[in-house]
Amino acid sequence: MILSVRDFAIGFQREGQNLVAVDGISFDVAEGETFVIIGESGSGKSLTGMSIAGLQPPTAFVSGSIRFKDREMLKRPDAELRKLRGPEIGLIYQDPLSSLNPVWPVGDQIAETLVAHGLAGRTEARKRAVEMLERVRIPDPRRVTSAYPHEISGGMRQRAMIAMALAAGPSLLIADEPTAALDVTIKAQMLELLAELKRELALTIILITHDMGVVAEVADRILVLYAGRIAEVGPADSIMLQPSHPYTAALMTSAMISQTPAKQELNAIVGGAPGLGAFPSGCRFHPRCPRAQDDCKAIEPPRRKFGAVELACHHPIEAAMSLQVARS
């Protein structure tokens, strides 16, 4: 396992109250896989992703353990975390402008990562920056090295951000909604590029998203997060094609629009995801769950093995039934 997360919790103090955003989650990520964390707004998916890279907000309180290549990441001093980000862990975001400096040529920024980590001298670093831009299929990389971020197109910026994240040769890439702001045809290019880079550079990828189309394409394993707790975790095919947790099934139904006869009502769940500090008792999904019974309101479902997946649900959908859900 390249990454082991155990009983990880993160929260904030607000007006003297402890508000827990992610509440004791555990999972492993194997080397070389694409591990996708699915969740809606407020599920804690980005907080989890950022904490793996040691980038949780400084005001947050954390507990549990995040071990990356046998190093404990939580409560590690900032200076040491900085040394890991780049050579060990690369990060990409939805908005490339949040990681690119607007007043610095693109190539210099990539070169600087290498110089800062002592991986190359200035001249060597510049050469490798051009190679990196070539690697992310930027046509005319020499021109782009000396361009400022605003001088290149959105798609090129996205590629430059990926080049920067991967320049120092990390083994783990954390991608937080990397395609959310992109048009479908550009999104498709990004996904193909990530798949190619993953193969070429033997990357492990943790992808955080709420886009089921993206998940369908790239996921090896999936973790479904709901209101700071794990609903379901397991192989992508089981989770997408035969969801056992009613919440996952609902997410997939909205993604299965193309399978529903035109103009027919979709199998939507009611309500919205609860906000921080307003998580319901028992199973946190129970107020929206079509299968909820009394025990769901009172007792938090323990995590258990169910077929090919692990889930936290008192009344999961049996495999034969979930196929029906998928067809309906």
Partner: protein, 339 residues
Amino acid sequence: MALLELDAVSKTFSQRRGGRAVQAVAGVSVAVGKGETLGLVGESGCGKSTLARLALKLVDVTDGRVRFDGIDVTGFASRRMLPIRRRLQAVFQDPLASLNARMTIAEVMREPFDTHGVKLGAGLEARIRELLSFVGLENIDIQKLPGQFSGGQLQRIAIARALALEPEIIVADEPTSALDPSIQAQIVNLMLQIQRKRGISYLIISHDLDVIGHVADRIAVMYLGTIIEQGTADTIMQRPLHPYTQALLSAAPTLAARRQVGWKRIMLTGDPPNPADVPSGCRFHPRCHLARDICREKVPPLRAMPGTGQMVACHLAPEETARAGAEVGRARRGLAAAS
């Protein structure tokens, strides 16, 4: 007769500081019939949102005519538009941005009645309650501000407000794009219910092909300010004939496509086009894998295909594109490729 008709409309924006003029919409004709849903798809910068604003008369056309229920409203100033506006309402992508953040929900809901001089007196609050409950918001506190509601609730409020004066058509620009997936399905259902109960028409603009394919009767695909393909939702989703439509449909894999071994997409190279720099001939040719001399030289007209009534602007359709289109349609539905 069509309820809303855009007849060869164009919109040119002149850039400040003497920059080049940008033609965002270039000679587009679309019509929405009574009770019908027209879906308009395209990527950023294709002009679809400008087209929505032309339809709503929020901006004036540079060329062409806009007709509502047979009335030519092209030159109508806002005072003459007022009675038309009652019948033609809008819903936008980000409800928090489109509702005034300092107004309570009661004030937000009351505004359309005030604007159009509809006096309900003591009946106003009951009417507001009725509208909100129609969109599934029975017990909300209408003295609260928009910021105190979730995105899904706000989109319902925006829809309730649009319905206040019982319009005949709603122009919805990316109505589900800013919402979480479980909320998107709710809003899709709500829009379908409204149509079933009230026989309303929709012009829905979106980049989300799944949503458009599900709710629309007919679909028009825009590229760089022009319509490149138009037809019934079934033909566009199952047998697209324009290489761009095919690329769009195959770019976003469905869950069904995942089940197939060897599923492959039609990949577009290059960046989305720039409306300030329109290519010669077919506007799509620099990104088209089929492009040849005629495509670089001659603008393909939008022409009807025999039999289906599908309209396509491609020199090579249907002869060289039909097979690929059928494959794309099958893959989306999770069917294996035809041998």
